[in-house]
């Protein structure tokens, strides 16, 4: 795997998020003018389902973003460092951080994103304390410390 592969995967999530945000917003605007629009195409789907989708979109794509980040670190640990164990993310991030001499500020930022992800998964927190784009930048900056190829 290359570091660029990881960046490309983050970019894909970002672009998909933007496209979906536009598409859902557009359909909602159209359905403002024609409330029967949604039901014409999908039986059982209501406008409020779309509103829920729009409300949760950022959180949904944030989780995709973090999954890409976690997948990259686990791939690097397994193939780049030949580690057989799969530690929890906190330990994995610290271990790679020490090994690659990642700056303390960049470590702290990436951990803030990890904690947010845990709160969403385990504490059912709905609100993002950081924006999707902040999270993307923090995770990408952490990944920039990985070698170009492993």
């Amino acid at each position: 795997m290359t570091r660029q592969d990881a960046f490309s995967a983050l970019i894909s999530v970002r672009d998909e998020f933007e496209a979906t945000k536009f598409a859902v917003g557009h359909v909602l605007r159209l359905s403002d003018r024609d409330p029967s629009l949604v039901g014409q195409y999908v039986t059982g789907l209501s406008r409020s389902d779309l509103q829920t989708c729009q409300r949760n979109l950022e959180a949904t794509y944030f989780l995709c973003l973090f999954a890409v980040f976690e997948g990259t670190l686990r791939n690097y640990s397994k193939f780049g460092r030949k580690r057989l164990k799969e530690p929890p993310m906190e330990r994995l991030m610290d271990s790679i951080g020490r090994y690659r001499h990642i700056s303390p500020q960049h470590m702290q930022n990436a951990h803030a994103v990890r904690i947010l992800r845990n709160d969403m998964i385990h504490e059912h927190q709905q609100e993002l304390r950081l924006t999707f784009h902040d999270c993307k930048s923090h995770l990408a900056t952490y990944l920039s410390w990985l070698p170009p190829l492993w």
Binding site: H133, K136, T141, S144
Partner: protein
């Protein structure tokens, strides 16, 4: 002359005009970057659009202390714009889109909010530093 060849000529003219805008944009950014002492590297990428076909467009990489900026043309036919070029920072992946509207470049953030600033050297230099998260 057939309708088909009229269309071909029309899209070819549009493509040439688009490539002219891109060349001017990339030349401006390269000059502004060199003025700041930032290294620039120009290359070509292949773009395919349904109406314009496949063509080669310039891409610019700007090296700044602490990161880099990629000036990446996306295409001419975009929703709500006549042409789009992305300015993307590395490693932050922060991005703004330069979209062409009313014959000038406008800056739009990823949140789809337009930055109502004139597209000029001062704006680019500040934007470049902000995109890579320079304090």
């Amino acid at each position: 002359m057939t309708l088909q060849s009229d269309d071909t000529q029309h899209w070819q003219q549009q493509r040439d005009q688009w490539l002219g805008w891109l060349d001017q944009l990339v030349s401006d950014i390269a000059a502004w970057s060199e003025h700041e002492g930032w290294g620039v590297n120009r290359e070509q990428k292949t773009v395919t659009e349904p109406l314009l076909g496949t063509y080669s467009a310039p891409v610019l990489h700007v090296q700044i202390s602490g990161g880099r900026i990629q000036v990446n043309p996306i295409g001419l036919h975009m929703i709500g714009a006549e042409g789009r070029v992305d300015l993307e920072g590395w490693p932050t992946l922060n991005r703004v889109k330069l979209v062409r509207r009313q014959e000038q470049w406008q800056i739009v953030t990823d949140s789809n909010v337009p930055l109502r600033l004139p597209w000029c050297e001062q704006t680019f230099v500040q934007l470049a530093q902000d995109l890579i998260g320079m304090p």
